[in-house]
């Protein structure tokens, strides 16, 4: 291709983006002055993006772990996360804590909800693997993919049903399909202004702090676990070559089940965190969050643990910027535009090595 042709293609693309972009909120003549007039908003959105991104990242880890080990995009994973949020809500409802409860009551309720949600989603994920994927492991890959989509629908309906059990769980409210309100258990105390006494234009609340700390600890913990423990090494070996892993004496079925257990636990933790952070849970939340998390995993390089974390933060930040500067209605479209661009131009993702290479 001649240089002038390349220039022409780039020019046409820029023209199209400027022409059609504003439809989806990408109007740089509005955005640039907006950023220039109030740069602190940019930092604020960055912070929100990081907090949301850390939740997306721990969901993305579930996709990437499972893909890494059995090359299955587990479309039901987002819905397992939704069940985690529902379980948390149910437990918090059972404790009857509200924003007015004492600190000790809130802490106990949150801890029990954390353990309960994690145990529940971990069990659910292991059961799903056992029932819906294990038998299909040697079948063509499309079979387990379709099975995953089927499980996803089943779980969404479980969520819908669960949301309608107001007779047992009053916290679910009146309407089965409506978003459920999570009580405000973590106050919005500003860490910078009220605790540290700094006079800065952006706010960093205790909620942001909690979400970022918990999510980061889980990610670092997982990274270290996979790197250094015996079981973590067995997971990597199974991911790299299943037959060789069997020869080593690794019980591959158990390792795969354990991978689902880890992924499910992270999804449960994410479900509680998002409830505490955004104070809402709805039975379709797994679908949206799942697609964002999946995009993050692909962006970072699916199968790559560090990549999923990086992708989660980047997608979180992109979504926060889009919400603020483009148009929140178009945020998902921008996220999927990233997915398409990554798949077209760099299918291995930012940190991924060549896909499916089993040397």
């Amino acid at each position: 291709m001649r240089p002038w042709q390349k220039v022409l293609i780039v020019a046409v693309n820029i023209y199209l983006l400027l022409f059609f972009g504003p439809v989806a909120g990408f109007d740089i003549f509005r955005i640039i002055p907006e950023i220039a007039s109030k740069p602190s908003t940019l930092l604020q959105q960055l912070l929100i993006g990081i907090a949301n991104g850390s939740i997306i990242a721990i969901i993305a880890l579930g996709y990437t772990l499972v893909y890494g080990i059995i090359e299955l995009v587990n479309f039901a994973h987002g819905d397992v996360y939704m069940l985690g949020a529902f379980m948390s809500l149910t437990i918090i409802g059972a404790f009857g804590v509200t924003a007015e409860s004492t600190g000790a009551q809130k802490i106990v309720a949150i801890l029990v909800a954390f353990l309960g949600a994690v145990a529940f989603t971990a069990t659910a994920n292991v059961t799903i693997e056992r029932v819906a994927y294990r038998r299909l492991r040697n079948a063509p890959r499309l079979a387990s993919l379709i099975s995953a989509i089927g499980v996803s629908f089943i779980l969404q309906n479980v969520g819908l049903f669960w949301g309608g059990l107001k007779a047992f769980f009053p916290i679910m409210g009146v309407n089965a399909a409506a978003p459920k309100a999570f009580p405000e258990l973590i106050g919005r105390i500003d860490v910078f202004k009220d605790i540290l006494g700094w006079n800065v234009p952006i706010s960093f609340s205790t909620k942001d702090l909690l979400v970022i700390t918990v999510a980061s600890s889980l990610m670092i913990g997982l990274r270290l676990f996979v790197q250094y423990t015996r079981l973590g090494k067995a997971m990597r070996a199974t991911a790299e070559n299943r037959d060789a892993a069997k020869i080593m004496g690794i019980d591959v079925d158990r390792v795969i089940a354990f991978t689902f257990l880890l992924g499910g636990s992270l999804a449960g933790a994410a479900g509680l965190l998002v409830g505490l952070y955004n104070n809402t849970a709805v039975f379709t939340m797994g679908f949206t969050a799942g697609l964002r998390a999946f995009t993050s995993a692909v962006l970072g390089g699916i199968g790559n643990i560090t990549g999923a974390m990086l992708g989660g933060f980047l997608i979180g930040i992109l979504a926060a910027f889009s919400d603020q500067y483009f148009s929140s209605r178009w945020t998902n479209a921008w996220v999927f535009a990233v997915l398409v661009l990554v798949l077209v131009f760099r299918p291995t993702g930012l940190l991924g090595e060549s896909i499916g290479q089993k040397a």
Binding site: K233, A234, K246, I247, G249, I250, A359
Partner: protein, 235 residues
Amino acid sequence: MLELKDVHTYYGNIHALKGISLKVEKGEIVTLIGSNGAGKTTTLRTIQGLLRPRSGSIVLEGEELTKIPPHLITERGVSQSPEGRLIFPRMTVLENLEMGAFSRKDKDGIKRDLERVCIVFPRLKERVKQKGGTLSGGEQQMLAMGRALMANPRVLLLDEPSMGLAPILVEQIFQIIQELNKQGTTILLVEQNARMALSIAHRGYVLQTGHIRLQGDAKRLHDDEEVRKTYLGEE
């Protein structure tokens, strides 16, 4: 020590092993030779439990292996350097060797065997921190063998250790196999390079399309007219 009796293995509907019976005694090197598709690799995969025989029995020191899962077969003392080596490319050389000892609990024994592998394969010792995938073909073969030795196996299965290696490396690998055997390791060796294999083995079996065609003393096979013509390429 290891005995296969009338083993039949299928790939789907393809009858790959049509009644293989063979024996490996303690301290021996036994070689399986034969052309492509004769069933050599299938035999090793069946012993390891990666493939299940439809009938027949595989007995290791009195214990039936066909009924127990592959990871327990390794624990019972069968390990192999598989066809294509199948090292873990993104794990370090040391991690690869550690995985070889996965089914063992005796820390001291593992440490001893790691030292032993480093003595047998000094090249691996120099590269312990390197990723497996960055090694050369010869080094990967050494890693696959070292990894199999880390299991401290009763029977070591070697699948085509000479494949894709320069002649000088082949010679080196075969010397190492002989050396390991002198140190007391029982070896079942699958090879395309029949001449080399028969020169170091005690006994041999010739496989042809899933049957055992000939068997016996390695020297006798080496001098057998049919073997010379078909597998050693002599007129």
